[in-house]
Amino acid sequence: MHTNAASSELFDNLRLELRRGCLVVAVLAQLYTEHYGYALRKALGDQGLAIDENTLYPLLRRLESQGLLASQWREEEKRNKRFYRLSPLGEEVLPNLLAEWREMTAALERILGDRGLASAAESASESKKEK
């Protein structure tokens, strides 16, 4: 019982670490086209990458303070909304980030394939979808 709770907590922590970098890439990639916060969250969720609002908004501000995003307040549907899009610096950085991510994914795939873990990962993914 205790072991299950510990392993679940460990998994949650590892999952958080794994997601952290991926979310940055996903948010930057999604903001090639302009979005406001709520719409961005919906768009990411619709594509299978649910993101908590308490994670998304601070992340958007961090990326903006790093110069990767640009934002502006604008009225839409009679409400003021803050719209974000990739800045010129973000457009320069994102392709490199994606290339790095692709290299890592390819390497990981090779490692998983070498050890016959790919099928185990697939079945874990299937069972997660079923749940």
Binding site: Y36, G37, Y38, R41, E53, N54, T55, Y57, P58, R61, W73, R79, N80, K81, R82
Partner: protein
């Protein structure tokens, strides 16, 4: 949105605002408010009715406590740089275990053994130890926090050379450890003897009425001698625990040697170390005795100077050998 719901959202946003950085408060709250409003509208459209207070409360509760929500926007803060934590722990360990314990043992051992109520003295010792330890932990932490705040760089941490790392413990000559321990025991004993012999002493009285009057120079050198002896003993103790810290030990030894030489120079310059008072001796015999006695001290001090110089040269050569053996700079890490 009904008035009660607006009130609930406003209260929630106000509570979040309280924890936010002042410069960004309005901006963040406006964005969070907009997000909440979008969420409420979507939920209302899905349910087909206006959300009541309980339903809205569930949404806000799910979003998280105001402090938790605000914490996401705060800059990451820390008291001490994580990279400096091993050094911080080491400094605390050295101060609390290897400085305070011997120091308190040295200061309180005599009173504990001689005081009529040793239990009371032990309790006082423990209270003083914790008071000093508490203050020291606070001061060390403050220093490390300031180092982190002002981004003080430790070049030594970057410019390191794997070939200069200390050896694996347990492979060194066990004798070295014992030599240092013996040096520490001898040093602390010498310091205790010095205190016992010279504490507020101006003369030695012997049976038969002979008195040895100490010159004023002994008062001048009392604390420096005690300080140098204790420092040397302390570093011997440290070397017995960390025998691979040879560079630090050599530097400290050279330092204590220089202090010892300065003290010896002061002593030699003062000249008249002792005077003798004895009613049974003639003036000529008294003058001869004093000359012989002062001459003996003179030679002892000169011998001590020779030993200190020899030791300092030995340690300096050891340090220089280490520097000459320094290999070419390694390329920096990728």
């Amino acid at each position: 949105m009904p008035a009660t719901n607006t009130d609930l959202v406003d209260r929630y946003l106000h509570a979040v605002k309280f924890w936010l950085p002042k410069a960004q408060q309005a901006d963040i709250v406006a964005e969070l408010g907009e997000d909440l409003q979008s969420l409420v509208e979507e939920r209302e459209a899905a349910l087909g009715h206006t959300l009541d207070e309980d339903e809205l409360a569930i949404i806000l509760k799910k979003r998280g406590s105001p402090m938790r929500v605000a914490s996401g926007y705060l800059p990451e803060q820390r008291l001490i740089n994580p990279a400096m934590l091993p050094v911080y722990r080491l400094v605390l360990k050295i101060v609390l275990l290897w400085v305070f314990v011997p120091l308190f043992a040295f200061v309180f051992l005599g009173p504990v053994l001689t005081f009529a109520r040793p239990g009371e003295m032990l309790l006082r010792c423990a209270v003083e130890y914790w008071r000093a330890a508490f203050m020291t932990v606070g001061m060390v932490t403050t220093v490390f926090a300031l180092l982190d705040r002002y981004q003080v760089k430790f070049h030594r941490a970057d410019n390191w050379d794997p070939r200069k790392l200390p050896g694996v413990p347990g492979t060194q000559n066990a004798m070295t450890r014992w030599n240092h321990l013996a040096g520490a025991i001898f040093g602390f004993a010498a310091a205790a003897f010095w205190v016992y012999l010279m504490w507020q002493r101006s003369e030695f009285a012997f049976s038969g009425g002979t008195r040895l009057i100490l010159g004023p120079v002994w008062r001048q050198i009392y604390w420096p001698v005690l300080g140098v002896t204790l420092t040397s003993a302390f570093f011997d103790l440290l070397s017995s625990v960390y025998p691979r810290w040879t560079q630090v030990r050599s530097r400290v030894r050279i330092g204590t040697d220089i202090c010892g030489l300065t003290i010896a120079a002061v002593l030699l310059k003062a000249g008249n170390f002792v005077g003798i008072v004895d009613a049974h001796l003639s003036a000529a015999d008294l003058a001869n005795s004093m000359a012989w006695f002062n001459g003996m001290i003179d030679w002892t001090v000169i011998a001590a100077i020779a030993i200190e110089i020899g030791d300092a040269i030995h340690e300096a050569r050891f340090l220089l050998r280490g520097k000459r053996a320094k290999p070419a700079a390694l390329p920096s890490a990728m």
